[in-house]
Symmetry: D4
Subunit: 238 residues, 8 copies
């Protein structure tokens, strides 16, 4: 039966031309779209030679894309991000660190790293320094004190951001992750723990939102680093 009774409405075009309209590169939040919708958006970008960043592209969605599209993109299965096109030259200021508590937090940390790289900012990654073995973090204390923005990724009890914020003078952004089970509740406990932190000045994003933390770092760059003033972070298209 004809679905096109509705398709003829010009408003249901799913905004495939949004990127033309607003003239800036965008990130596409893929998770809540059908494969057809993602593929159409990707196809348009390829056809027009534009760069594109996709976030939360699930493994199943990726596997269902046409072979040619899969070949055209750089897909990172851990962060579930895909990049179409080249990376710009990478700046090293502002100084941004990505600090994660454990191996399982790699997904959001890599998402942030890749969003920053897509926008031309190189970040320093400090992995696996959870507070259960405090010496791992203390070994990195001087490095972290030299940073302007420190993004901390932690799940479970998310004690790491509190300890980091007690050690460093820079901005501290906590990204609670969904690592953990039972009362960890998909990251809700980590989120609440970072919001209720005893260390002052911690700022928080949604659970697993490495993309949002990276966008915040890019906002920092735009208003502090002249070289980054023109950088345009990807805007979330959902």
């Amino acid at each position: 039966m004809p679905e096109d009774r509705f398709d003829s409405d010009p408003n249901v075009t799913f905004d495939r031309d949004r990127q033309l309209r607003i003239g800036l590169e965008e990130a596409v939040l893929a998770e809540f779209k059908t494969v057809d919708q993602v593929s159409a958006i990707l196809g348009d970008a390829i056809a027009e030679g534009r760069r594109l960043l996709l976030t939360r592209l699930t493994h199943d969605q990726h596997a269902a894309l046409p072979e040619a599209q899969r070949a055209a993109i750089d897909y990172c299965p851990i962060s579930r991000t895909a990049i179409l096109g080249d990376l710009p030259p990478q700046a090293v200021t502002p100084r941004v660190a990505l600090v994660s508590a454990g191996t399982s937090d790699a997904g959001p940390a890599l998402e942030a790293q890749r969003v920053l790289a897509y926008s031309g900012l190189s970040a320093t990654m400090v992995a696996d320094v959870g507070v259960a073995g405090l010496w791992r973090l203390l070994r990195q204390e001087e490095l972290l004190k030299s940073m302007q923005v420190v993004i901390v990724f932690a799940g479970m009890d998310a004690a790491l951001p509190s300890v980091v914020a007690g050690l460093v003078p820079g901005m501290v952004i906590a990204v609670p992750t969904s690592v953990g089970y039972g009362v960890a509740a998909g990251g809700q406990t980590a989120l609440n723990a970072t919001l209720a932190s005893c260390a002052p000045g911690i700022l928080v994003t949604n659970i697993d939102n490495g993309y949002g933390a990276a966008c915040a770092a890019l906002r920092f760059a735009r208003v502090t680093a002249p070289a980054m003033a023109q950088a345009t972070p990807p805007r979330d298209a959902f």
Copy 2:
């Protein structure tokens, strides 16, 4: 082993003849039924030449229906609705707009559009006007001010209904959607945000309930538009 020990009980007939009994077209909420139950209901309607509307018919349920039944219905995979039979002539009053924040909200918006179309009311769709890029909404301000009923579909933070309700004089119905992750919590945050809106007079439905919002618009039509007074919205059979 014989299950029919129970099947012989006349009360377990799953009300296949309800439509004959109550003499009005109904929507069937398919999601919580087995494929056998859905297929039986559909088969009866086909045999009797009746129209039928099914909501929340999952892709798996649709795929498991008999080939002949699949061919007989108009299935929209995005809204997960199925229509058996023809659409009636489409009225354009009352003036109803369906406004959605992003591409990912298309499911409930199309569900509402198809329920309205099934009942003979044509609605105007205004898609992808989320507040993160405010100019998209402001561009449609005059159109929306001319509407009697504005149904707004938004997930995540659901800021759009508040902004719309501050701009238009008509009735504003918010349909929170399940788009989002982490604290979005399957639409619970969007739901609460619309209920707690700072703009007065917003009315709210259950999460993703485009069907319910359309039924409310049909109630509006019945008590305000003489031509629609006889229109019978589908009743929810669960």
Copy 3:
């Protein structure tokens, strides 16, 4: 009108003679009793020359007790505990430390200390060593490593128990406290954070339950320290 229609029922005597029946000293959870009930229990103990421990005796309840009863008890307004009678000699083994994150956690910490003292066990208190100023805790590292049981009191994000458990070999019992606002949610976030801790082997009590943690330490004492084997922890009468 006569309430004694019900009072004549022998089952509604509110168990004022429980202590005679079971022959062991008990703690009375006062918070959910009326002042009359608390006063009656206290009066019986005074009349019989028995010791008594009351927990969660609110300031209002305390103020409403008869003057003579108030004079007879040692009431600690911070921990809301009251002790009637003398303390026994105080043992120093097993070695138990009470570690608190901030001044605001003093209530449950003092409750635990007083329950232990009532039962004859002296504990070492280490106050105000929250992780926002890590040097405060690290300064006590050797002391804490020498303890057999370390009870940690922390509210807000409750990062302290995780860090402590990464430093010491002994048993670690976390008592989440209700200190904090907003998402701290009366201690729920601290509770969840300690349960989800990344440091292995942390055990947890109900929010603000210094009494329960002390009872656990007394259980430890009974099965490990011969001198404590006869010590009887107060049993919760609610």
Copy 4:
């Protein structure tokens, strides 16, 4: 009865000398302390001629302080903050704006303003620009675009931070407030809405945490504005 059985323990001194130990000015979170504890801390600071900042000092706590102490401090009943001592010279960079949705959000906004002022940073306040009357915000668009840090205070549905973040290039910090009833749930809906925002790069604090947002702005100042590098934000003593 003697409570000093416990008071003689040197660990229960409630850290009245912390400020001497760590040599930096601190904020004291008053809400979870007894009046005696707050008064002792305040008395020490007065005696030693030190400045002091108290947050969440309730009206009842304030009223119960000794008359001389009440006269010595600048208490703001709306923000429930108290300042002892003079304000330092006020810098105007970095450029920080405090944007609030409604009159009822004044408490946390004033808390942030006073914490910043206490630390020597003057902020621009833009009050009562909630999205229900969008023109109020759009009138301030150019001002807000010139800011490096924009802190947005909003309760109920908290749609304002999303709209602001879509308009300005600077850092956007959302402080959800407890304004609202029913599903507003003491700020939980505003919190979740800002965390789930459709606008990228919003950072969030605990509910009503104007203090935390100000501390984050001071972290921004320390790593970007040479003149502020020595400024020391108050540390949270809880």
Copy 5:
């Protein structure tokens, strides 16, 4: 100490002149304002001879207002609303009914009735028709069928809106109330029950939000009843 260091900031004027600026009568949500703020707003209106509607003005707030202000307003303690000035002539179309399940639901029902009356619309009240005694509702069936908008107030299990929506063709707006204890949870169960209703087309407001339901009815009036087109519902000032 001088709080006016901050008061001199022109942005902290608490918008006492908002009504002059936007030229339309407003409702003032009093609950989250200090008595001084409410009194100032009220004083301005009296001085300028303007009408004013206040919602959620608590008994304590009302009692603390100056005697002259208390005498000038019509305060309804059950609905906690106050009206300053005269009521306009009362229209009887559109036909709006206010249906409540029990006596305890009178607060929100009267709030809605008074908001409508303040805006010039007279509604029909049908009280105490909860489903536990079904005949009470069925006795009113014909009356309710003749209504264009039926606003139903119910707490506890909120079964009434579902039954009403199965009986009447008009718009059905459910206002869940906070009546009940235990799992009623301050109206959360009533809210969820109405949102999940098995009857199609029910629209829902926040808990106890009689004001919001009345505003929705006024939106209905503006787009359907020519005589009401100029009526301006009060706008929520929070």
Copy 6:
């Protein structure tokens, strides 16, 4: 100012004559009514010589009633119930036991006992048999096995109903109580524990709902005991 603009509406009579209309004695849920409403209902009953049962009449409400009304009723402050008029003769079948875990559970247990007594059924109370001291319950095992309906009152972890249901053949009704703190959450944990019980056939009421459990026992009596067939349980007027 005249509130009677609304009072003249005949629907706002707060159903003071309901008892005449439906010809059966009712319970009045007092908690959510104003003192004026309660007093009016009580005054009518006194004037007409009718019996009346009030539940959840708070201490403050009771204290605010007119002296003459207070003298006319039998008020139980523990169960917060009030009875106006005489009790009928008390039947002893069906055999109903009221079993409570601790002294703090006396409120709902006495509420049930008084509702039953008001309706003419005498119940056996077995108090203070919580599972922390199992011998107390086992001592009553034979008595409980002889009962047809066993209503169990327990807060905190509510382990008692599960143990009782494993011992007795009769109907087991659990009334979770609000006794406890922290995760006890006002009875929510006790409620969930009884609903999730590992012992089969336990039935559950709302938290602290001794009234509801008594009504269920009266339903049992009506359909099993001929002598009770005419007994009319009080109906909940809220």
Copy 7:
């Protein structure tokens, strides 16, 4: 590698001989067991010629059982129950009705019916009488009034039990079902609505717990119907 290091422990035998030990037929809660565990339990029963009832046996578990075992049992896919062996003669007293709101509630209703049938009690099923079309229920009013126990199955808003309890004198047991989406929350809203019902004396089970409701009806039978006194309901083996 050898798992039997643990299997040789006699305590880990998974209680395959429990039925021999306690000499009564049991229900086995299959959902949380592995297929091997279920198959072993079933194999023992077949070998010993015993009857057996399994509840919550998922479709996947059923499909994975050995062919011979699948042939030996009567599996009902809608209720996910399996019966091994013959049904006993079916009694018709006590009079029990199973009332369900919609077709989607058939699963728990059939579970109850089959548990009762397994234990020798025949129940009357009244299906598809949800309150959205009230006439369907009213048509059955006389039948329901003649019942001693009425078990009502409803999901979504679960308004049906409240209406039924207002109509019938017998015991009313509500089984909230997981039918619904969004705020229906897997049956949590239906559960809370039934617990908070405005109709007195409703008793409630866990979500979808048709087994528990049937066990309660069997408890009713044992203490009221001499012929059922020896009937032994299945005990839950989890």
Copy 8:
């Protein structure tokens, strides 16, 4: 496209050499890692001849490991643990019991047993003694009274730990399990019930956290049993 743009960062090595660095055997929390990450960690251990303990290794992860790795480990599908290498000699003091309520609780109980065995401590398992059949537990009363540490595994209502703690003098650790449906909520009700227990001194772990309970028992061993002082429990690598 090359993912190795990021792989060349030395910080993203997923800490494969952590075991070399910290010189102690560790447990690897497998659930939140990709199969590639788990396989790499396992491969390193095999290559280096080290022992290794993996927890929460799902069936799908296990099935996806290389055949050779699967052959090298002892995988227990019920507890989802895997052990690489030999077990050390097994001590029998301290005396630890693992008590479980039902067959479905075997997963966490076996996890605890295997973690203890991996660390050289043999525990006594007492299975299937849930309180619904109280005699099963009472039969084991003397055995349990002789234990120093009693770990109790229970889901659903988790009444068992309360009853056990009322019977034994030793330490009682409750591990709430995720067994149950509906309000059991994946173990949340069991967790809350154990935290709110009426029996004093119960300590609690996260849901299903047999690993954590075993680590606590090993902490007990280190500070009480000289022979265990050198035993090193596995540390959680997440």
